[in-house]
């Protein structure tokens, strides 16, 4: 079964069409990396999947349900706020800038969703939160506030927070782009471990090594379109699309030039 199906999905901000007919199926358990130049629409696509943005045309299916709408007879009706909030439980999101709840400790950050949204007992949710934080290597930081954590630690808490909701698919929007270069590795390592659990993952990233080692498929986006899809080896070594070739050589060029693995992006 496909966890995510985008069919001719389009999204505009005003007159500016950012996504121009995206078609993509993501199977259960698959790890898909989305690469592409800055401004190509990676973030917007992820935000459409968990309905932080609403789409303008086409259709999006998440976890077997039409996202944001209901079909009644001949008519397509928009869902209300509560129904959309309910659908969002199927997706978990890890943001580029972490967005941890600043007033809550690490364990409270992870437990908030299970308590407030899933209705778990606080004690049980905190127990699960501690287990998850241990899995991302943060047993020592349960009671730390986000401001007391490094960027890498904050992003690992954010991953635990997303996992605590038991989503069908985890969305990562350039999770390491806002990190200092020496902190990128610890986050990628955690993501790699998460991938081994068999959960479906969609990762917008500039980390080509991660894409090669962890993903099942690589999607190349440019100018709001998917230009090429394929296995990581083939995409990264024998790209067909000229724009993908340019993109890859620009990326490896900047790597060799700057000597670190931090790709700049928006």
């Amino acid at each position: 079964m496909n966890v995510v199906s985008a069919v001719n999905l389009s999204k505009s901000f005003g007159a500016f069409e950012v996504l121009k007919g995206i078609n993509l199926d993501i199977a259960k358990g698959e790890v898909v990396c989305i690469i592409g130049p800055s401004g190509s629409g990676k973030t917007t696509f992820l935000r459409c999947i968990n309905q932080l943005e609403s789409i303008n045309s086409g259709a999006l299916w998440v976890n077997g349900e039409l996202a944001g709408f209901r079909v009644v007879g001949e008519r397509i009706l928009p869902l209300d706020e509560h129904e959309i909030a309910f659908q969002r439980r199927a997706t978990g999101m890890v943001f580029q800038r972490f967005n941890l709840f600043a007033h809550l400790t690490a364990e409270q950050n992870v437990a908030l969703g299970p308590v407030e949204v899933l209705g778990q007992a606080p004690a049980q949710a905190l127990g699960t939160a501690r287990d998850l934080l241990a899995r991302v290597g943060l047993s020592q930081k349960l009671k730390s506030y986000p401001a007391e954590l490094s960027g890498g630690q904050q992003q690992r808490v954010a991953i635990a927070r997303a996992m605590a909701m038991n989503p069908q698919v985890l969305l990562f929007d350039e999770p390491t782009s806002a990190l200092d270069p020496e902190l990128v590795g610890e986050v990628l390592k955690v993501m790699q471990e998460v991938a081994t659990t068999g959960i479906t993952m969609v990762v917008a990233t500039h980390e080509l090594n991660f894409a090669r080692d962890v993903s099942d498929r690589v999607v190349f986006m440019a100018d709001g379109r998917i230009l090429e899809v394929g296995s990581p080896e083939r995409m990264l070594t024998k790209p067909h699309e000229p724009r993908l070739k340019t993109f890859l050589s620009a990326l490896s060029g900047s790597r060799a030039g700057s000597g670190d693995s931090d790709a700049q992006s928006t």
Partner: protein, 282 residues
């Protein structure tokens, strides 16, 4: 350490006390002014025994109690209104936003005293109020001094405090709304569990000022015959003519209450500053 540099430690540096003529002048002026005021009070033949007598008198304490009670009730009404207005300002519904704007325009654009008098005399406009299924009442009976003061002070404060709450809500990063949405929280829950707790840090300091301001504003309620501290003091000096003495008694109690509120404000600021210590200015 390079050999050419002398060994020294600025911890041993001499602390120089600079001569600051302006400071001295200001200090001297302040002391002179204090002496002048003190002399003036002394010459005015203030009957301190009367001040003492009424400081803890039962009637004073009752008036003080009503001042405190009115402050609490009016603030509660004001805060409820302010939260509704602030959330309404952020609504997607243009009608809601328009209603909120009109409210603030009306209540901020007319004097507080006028509003109190209008509420007190509401019966002239609506002689009878009724709720379907509950029955109806004479407005005069309902709108006594207490109700008029509570509503008049509360609704007015709500208009001002809505701006405070709104700026508090705006101070919270949009990433916080999105993160809350992303874990499936609704708008209401997001506001309650994520946004308001963080907005508090920005809201509390100016709200403390509003609380202190309200304590003093309750004295306006004396105009509609509400028996708070000033009303009580006035009714005493109308027959014993110890005007300054009575006013000093009330000044003392206002200072006590506002000082306690200031301490409480500081404690709350510390509490809601949690998680913002590093890099934060509070």
């Amino acid at each position: 350490m390079p050999a050419s540099l002398p060994r020294l430690d600025i911890a041993e540096a001499v602390r120089i006390r600079r001569f600051r003529p302006l400071r001295l002048l200001l200090g001297a002026l302040a002391i002179a002014f204090a002496i002048f005021v003190f002399r003036a009070f002394a010459d005015a033949q203030i009957d301190w025994s009367v001040v003492w007598e009424y400081l803890l008198a039962r009637i004073t304490i009752v008036g003080l109690g009503f001042t405190i009670l009115m402050t609490l009730v009016a603030m509660m009404i004001g805060l409820s209104v302010a939260v509704v207005l602030a959330v309404g300002f952020g609504s997607h519904n243009p009608v809601t936003r328009w209603i909120c704007k009109t409210y603030v325009w009306l209540f901020r654009g007319t004097p507080q005293l006028l509003q109190l008098l209008l509420w007190y005399n509401l019966a002239l406009v609506f002689p009878i109020v009724g709720f379907p299924g509950l029955g109806s009442w004479q407005t005069v009976d309902l709108m006594g001094p207490f109700a008029a003061a509570a509503i008049g002070l509360g609704l007015n404060a709500g208009a001002y405090m809505s701006e405070i709450i709104r700026s508090g809500l705006l101070s919270v990063d949009t990433g916080q709304y999105e993160a809350a949405k992303a874990i499936g929280m609704t708008r209401g829950k997001t506001l309650r569990k994520v946004i308001f707790p963080q907005a508090m840090r920005v809201i509390i300091p100016p709200l403390g000022n509003e609380f202190i301001g309200m304590t003093k504003n309750t004295s306006l309620a004396s105009i509609v015959g509400f028996g708070e501290l000033i009303f009580v003091m006035q009714s005493i000096y109308f027959y014993n003519f110890k005007v300054i003495e009575m006013l000093l008694v009330s000044a003392f109690w206002y200072l006590v209450v506002t000082s306690i509120l200031s301490v409480g404000q500081y404690q709350l600021e510390k509490r809601f500053g949690r998680g913002f210590r590093r890099g934060g200015s509070l």
